[in-house]
């Protein structure tokens, strides 16, 4: 519409301005976002109020999909699994990354190799790591049970045991995602002024107390970012489940997004799946706002 040449002086002025040039440069990106971002978001919002099997003509059902969610025990179970996963995954991965980054932030012999080793899982495809873990954790032929047996520990079911599978996924994803967190922390550690640490040491602070009182406050912005980011990723967990347990055994690793996938593409309940997506979206929004409010207050600013 803006491109049609109308004899309107305002429009002509706009055409000549930098404004238009700017939009022209941004247009490809904007078009992509609109087509693949905004349109699906709006469309799925509409779908969540429909009975939509993705094949025949949809019809309106009002809030029936949302009401059905409240009474769906399988959805409730998927929420429980997701929360349990998030509550374990986020603290362990963020704290673990902080420790690893701290250990790597020094002049070690071959430190580049260690940093590379930590980061490699991040760039390895989830499908590949999933298959490797499937074999490592195989109850009969797996390497992990082999080493456990050397220590006299009986063979574990791991991904085949409904009581262990979710924890195996936690371990697998921490291994897979740790490198990203470590990179962020390494960058943050570079920003800690060396003279402050020196001053603390001259004042008699030990390694631990200088870390706690000097380094840690500088890491708060990075920590807040990682907690928010990891929580969002954890609540949207899907790939690792899809390539390993597929929600099993006996539904013990069916997390919210995997349940959504089943509803949409196995049972063709498109409307119901869209409602799940929107509930998840709202939950993530609320949790993120709380995190930013609580965490933001405690951020040390050096400006």
């Amino acid at each position: 519409m803006t491109l049609s040449l109308a004899p309107d002086s305002r429009l002509r002025r706009a055409l000549g301005s930098e404004h238009l040039a700017g939009w022209a440069f941004a247009l490809p990106a904007v078009a992509l976002i609109v087509i693949f971002g905004i349109v699906p978001i709006v469309w799925s919002a509409v779908m969540s109020f429909q009975a939509n099997d993705l094949v025949s003509a949809p019809h309106w059902v009002g809030v029936a999909n949302y009401r059905a969610l409240l009474h769906d025990p399988a959805f409730a179970a998927s929420v429980r699994h997701t929360l349990l996963y998030t509550v374990i995954f986020v603290p362990l991965s963020v704290a673990g990354a902080m420790l690893v980054a701290w250990a790597l932030n020094r002049k070690l012999h071959g430190v580049r190799f260690y940093r590379l080793a930590v980061f490699v899982p991040v760039v390895t495809s989830t499908v590949a790591t999933g298959i490797i873990f499937l074999w490592l954790l195989d109850p009969v032929f797996g390497l992990v049970n082999f080493f456990l047996s050397k220590l006299g520990i009986p063979a574990q079911g791991f991904l085949s045991n409904p009581n262990q599978a979710l924890y195996c996924i936690v371990a697998m994803t921490i291994w897979g995602w740790l490198g990203f967190d470590v990179i962020i922390y390494l960058a943050a550690l570079q920003g800690v002024p060396h003279e402050l640490i020196e001053a603390a040491e001259i004042d008699g602070a030990g390694k631990w107390s200088s870390f706690r009182s000097v380094v840690l406050p500088f890491l708060r912005p990075a920590t807040l970012f990682l907690v928010v980011w990891s929580t969002i990723s954890a609540l949207q967990l899907f790939d690792e489940i899809y390539v390993t347990t597929r929600g099993g055994p006996l539904g013990s690793t069916t997390v919210v997004v995997f349940y959504l996938y089943q509803q949409a593409f196995q049972f063709f309940n498109g409307g119901y799946a869209a409602a799940i997506a929107y509930v998840l979206f709202l939950a993530i929004l609320v949790i993120t706002i709380i995190q930013l409010k609580v965490g933001g207050r405690r951020i040390y600013s050096n400006t």
Binding site: D53, F141, S160, F265, F267
Partner: protein, 435 residues
């Protein structure tokens, strides 16, 4: 429902896919350039979507090229759909976008879902009017799977069935004689037990236990073999929670939890490799798996007792893009799925004959000797007399059954309790009107 083996052939498949795509793009480019001026020529352009790679894609292309040469008035463009696993999603998207393919390959399990689309061409009249087509030449299981509420929604494209595939070396070592057609389920169980050697990590049987349809259809073959049924004949109620169902699931559960003779793969990713490495004595599987066992000297035998098996036929579905293109599609697909062309395809790929009359084709014996083990699977088609219910609710019922089967195999529940619970869920689902 054939599962495509990813692995050594992967690269080749990708390369072939690229070739198919570029070839498709080239010809469709020139084709569509000419087609808008519909009056100039009288060529009808139709598009066919398939999920074949490798030898299969090559066979498709040879046949399509042959057709295009002989039939200048109907030009067919064969396009690779990326993977049959996503064919339904892509077809639905194309329908929504207003430009569906004229012919598309779809898994049989989707029949009841896709038939709800008004774009799907129902073939009953065309088949009835066309005596040369000979619908009854297709195997009974294929005809049942392509029929939803009496409506024929596709032409059988690929067929398979399940039989016992066993490792001869492990049988010899255990001093067991090979499975025979006279085996009972007790014989099967006893052999599996004898093949199980925990110290060597060796199991009698491998069973996919991810609670997916793969878990379920293996058991459904057992259920039918025990003379049980999935649903009542009117598809209104569960029938699997019968004495026969109880027996079939108890047998499976006892083998898993009492004999420990089953390698239970709850992720359904490792059985083929484990069998190929000589750690599993018997598998129940179909012809598509045979190329994954290069390290094993295997034999094939029909299922125990009544020899009932299950078949997963897939279909070519015609979509309505106007009368001219529907007619052209029908003319082409009739030729494409005729015994002669199908025999050529099977000879190149090792797929089972979709038509019974293919057994009289001159190449049939060459085909049997080229693919060892296939002769039994061809004979076994006659044992596939039942079909899974072609109702839209089946995929949901399958998940109820999947949970029931796995919970029994993991010793979390007994057969009767698990089946009764699944039946309760099934009956509640089927009681919902509509759909």
């Amino acid at each position: 429902m054939r599962r495509v083996a990813i692995g050594t052939v992967g690269l080749l498949a990708l390369a072939c896919a690229a070739v198919v795509l570029t070839a498709g793009c080239g010809s469709s480019g020139s084709g569509t350039a000419a087609s808008p001026s519909a009056g100039s020529g009288r060529v009808v352009n139709i598009t066919l979507w398939h999920g074949d790679t490798d030898y299969a894609a090559k066979a498709d292309n040879v046949l399509v090229a042959q057709w295009n040469k002989a039939n200048p008035d109907i030009h067919v463009t064969a396009l690779y759909n990326g993977s049959n696993d996503y064919a339904l999603q892509k077809t639905l998207t194309a329908i929504a976008g207003g430009k569906p393919p004229d012919i598309t390959y779809l898994y049989g399990s989707w029949a009841a879902n896709i038939v709800k689309s008004p774009k799907v061409v129902i073939l009953n009249d065309m088949i009835a009017k066309d005596s040369s087509f000979n619908w009854n030449d297709f195997w009974p299981a294929e005809r049942l799977a392509a029929t939803v509420n009496g409506k024929i929604m596709g032409v059988p494209a690929l067929v398979d069935n399940l039989a016992i595939v066993y490792n001869k070396k492990l049988f010899d070592r255990a001093g067991l004689s090979y499975p025979t057609a006279q085996w009972t389920w007790d014989d099967f169980r006893a052999a599996a037990k004898k093949l199980t050697i925990p110290a060597q990590k060796q199991f009698g049987w491998g069973y996919p236990a991810d609670a997916s349809e793969d878990t379920v259809w293996h058991w459904e073959a057992m259920l039918w073999d025990y003379n049980g049924d999935i649903l009542t004949p009117d598809n209104k109620q569960a029938a699997f929670n019968s004495a026969q169902g109880d027996q079939a699931l108890t047998m499976l559960g006892d083998m898993a939890t009492v004999d420990h003779s089953i390698y239970i793969d709850t992720t359904n990713t490792k059985i083929q490799q484990t069998f190929n490495n000589g750690h599993i004595g018997m598998m129940v599987t179909g012809p598509w798996d045979l190329p994954s066992f290069p390290n094993v000297k295997f034999g094939v035998q029909v299922m125990p007792a009544n020899h009932q098996t299950i078949s997963g036929p897939d279909n070519w579905v015609i979509l309505n893009n106007g009368a001219a293109r529907v007619n052209a599609s029908w003319t082409f697909i009739k030729w494409f799925t005729a015994a002669k062309q199908q025999m050529y395809y099977d000879l190149q790929t090792g797929a089972l004959p979709t038509r019974q009359s293919q057994q009289q084709q001159p190449d049939f014996q060459t085909y049997l000797s080229k693919y060892p083990g296939t002769d039994l699977f061809v004979k076994n088609m006659g044992n596939a007399v039942k079909s899974r219910p072609t109702i839209p609710q089946y995929s949901k019922i399958s998940t109820f059954l999947g949970q029931a089967i796995v919970s029994v195999m993991l010793g979390k529940s007994d057969a009767k309790t698990a089946l009764d619970q699944a039946a309760q869920q099934t009956n509640a689902l089927l009681a919902v009107p509509g759909s």
